[in-house]
Symmetry: C2
Subunit: 143 residues, 2 copies
């Protein structure tokens, strides 16, 4: 069995462990704004990429279309977004920021930037670039 | 806002995307054995590390104690493990393999080894070592 990979060396196990640790840390740091990591993802899509369509946002975040509507509903209930429904075509939904979420951009992005620094504090700039590039390439794979 | 990190460059976003892709691929490949990635994790703890205590297994897998009992119950219902309860101390549970899960070790570990190869096919040996080492170090951080 020497050529069989060990559980502790398996890429799924390692990614799951690292993701869980970082996700929990991010969640803890975003709690002060009353938002979750996935809600930050939605806001990031609007703040940075001017996305207003639920489908585009879902695709960008790698979330199922069926999941995104629940996320957006909770965000609307919290006053973070407004969902504008086209009266002539009810399938067409346009997402807009509110004053609350507009004001959150700088403080939230400052905290997110800080989370990255803390998580990656042990690594050099070159290592960080390599890690992020590899994660991007794994993400882009047709598995 | 130039010194603020972008959503697409945030380590939580990148880890979550890569983890999701690899997890789904692992899940698809394990389905032929009727087991999920976390159930493989439990079996791996017994196969490789001779762990028999639910707490040790939960700690090794980074799973909450409250979650592990549900996982073990489903595995028992599938005939993958037996849970032996000490009659003098009902909190003490000893997990044992069954003939079914004993026979699964080589085929499952062969598929898991293959999953790693496919996911990491684009990378050189040195890059893979670096990636896994960095994920391990992130996982070990006190965040």
């Amino acid at each position: 069995m020497n050529n069989l990979n060990s559980l502790d060396n398996c890429i799924n196990f390692l990614l799951t462990g690292a993701q869980h640790a970082v996700f929990q840390y991010m969640k803890k740091n975003l709690a002060q704004f009353g938002i979750t990591p996935i809600q930050y993802g939605v806001l990031g899509c609007i703040w940075e990429f001017d996305m207003h369509n639920p489908k585009d946002i879902a695709t960008h975040l790698g979330v199922e279309n069926s999941t995104i509507s629940g996320i957006l509903e909770r965000m609307e209930n919290k006053g973070l977004i407004r969902r504008m429904i086209d009266s002539s075509d009810r399938r067409f939904i346009h997402i807009e920021l509110t004053d609350v979420s507009r004001d959150l951009e700088i403080p939230v992005r400052t905290v997110v930037t800080e989370v990255d620094k803390v998580v990656l504090a042990k690594f050099g700039e070159k290592e960080i670039g390599m890690l992020k590039d590899m994660l991007r390439r794994i993400n882009a794979e047709e598995l």
